[in-house]
Symmetry: C2
Subunit: 223 residues, 2 copies
DNA sequence: CTAATATCTGACCGTGCGGTCAACATCTCC
DNA sequence: GGAGATGTTGACCGCACGGTCAGATATTAG
């Protein structure tokens, strides 16, 4: 490994401290196996030994490439967020109205969950089970909060444009995220869950809940 | 303890195997301390030693009254559900319409969470962290499912009475429960959460999402 | 080929868990 | 007041965890 190497000179492939081919491959493999293990047996039982077994290496290899289990878990979360962003963002940018953007938000988020089931299950496992030495301190490195504030802004912009009615944007965002985030446990426990049907119903629910008047005429309530 | 006593004859207080005063008090105390411990330091760190310390007894006492940690946890869940049912059911029965019942369902559920914060936090901790020896098998002894199916029936009866529009009742119930069940973690992490405002917004959201037509005239869409 | 470096293993350690147990303390009733 | 049931303790056990480490093995440079 290069992290503590005394000199900058080492591998042949390049002059600076670019990770070797093996290092990059191993890191990716271990992260992938960690995700599978966590999604498969749960965070508590996803021990280093379990992850190592799935990667067909010894436990020491994991500690060789990562600074302990905490570091590995953080890299796992990083990796999942990165892929999620790559999946969702392009789908949001090309929507003409805020209303369409909200629909795309819900559907692309759920579509990502369907496509990368175990990634999301692993994330939920980590958020639920990854405690620091003291009490309640969880993880959530701005990830959840970031998604939440992004959604709040989206809703508020819809209110300003007049597309949405006058609701509590924070509460609405919370309900939307809750309706999406409770999906992974359901997917884990019920293989027959109608995920596409659920996405469709959710879009309808939050369209009805957010829109400014049905098809009626009055533009603003006085009192 | 009475569970393995060879003869049916024992305590003086009564002729049958009614638990003694001490036994009933200790069981209740230990369950209460377990709830506090789980809500306070999380399921993973709520060890028998931790619970025993809070009850000011030795670890052995817990194993004397409960058949291991699993048994204790099950009794904790039982206890919380019992109290929740006692709190909510009376509030639901006296509602005139299905729509009012749904509103009462949401508001009483959230009110219970606000009143017995640590009970609900403990429940969520248990559901998230209580794994059996093998993989994913969680807990949920019909509790969640029961609440869910009860809600589904409520929604369907509203559709039959014409109060509600024609939505997927399972999906709607899931979204409602998700919007409620995501509350405890938020309450645990954010002491300033506006819980009453959230309850109010939720009622509005799912009123708009479920009701049959806004205030318009057409009673049924042809296509 | 050889030396240096990168990679990898398996044995080992300390810790903290759930659970057991023999012994001790307290209560209860005749 | 003493026998037996009930309640309680603290020492102890086996286990599995995350992590360490000396050294074996592969890879590369010169």
């Amino acid at each position: 490994m290069r992290s503590t190497s005394p000199t900058g000179v080492q591998a042949s492939s390049s002059s600076h401290d670019e990770p070797s081919f093996i290092e990059a491959a191993r890191r990716a493999q271990i992260i992938e196996c960690a995700i599978e293990a966590i999604a498969d047996v749960g965070f508590a039982r996803a021990t280093l030994a379990e992850i190592a077994k799935r990667a067909r290496v010894s436990k020491g290899v994991i500690l060789y490439y990562f600074d302990g289990k905490d570091d590995l878990i953080r890299k796992v979360v990083e990796s999942v967020y990165l892929i999620a962003a790559e999946f969702m963002l392009p789908r949001l940018e090309q929507q003409p109205t805020v209303r369409d953007t909200l629909h795309a938000y819900i559907e692309s988020n759920i579509a990502y969950m369907a496509e990368r089931r175990i990634y999301i299950i692993a994330l939920v496992e980590i958020f639920g089970g990854f405690r620091d030495r003291d009490g309640v301190s969880k993880f959530r490195p701005g990830g959840h909060d970031y998604m939440n504030s992004h959604l709040v802004e989206l809703l508020q912009s819809g209110q300003q444009s007049g597309e949405f009615r006058d609701f509590n944007a924070g509460a609405m965002a919370f309900a939307i995220r809750a309706s999406i985030d409770m999906l992974p446990p359901a997917l884990a426990n019920d293989a027959d869950f109608d995920i596409k049907g659920y996405a469709k119903e959710l879009v309808t629910v939050f369209d009805l809940a957010t829109r400014n008047q049905a098809g009626a005429k009055r533009k603003k309530v006085s009192s």
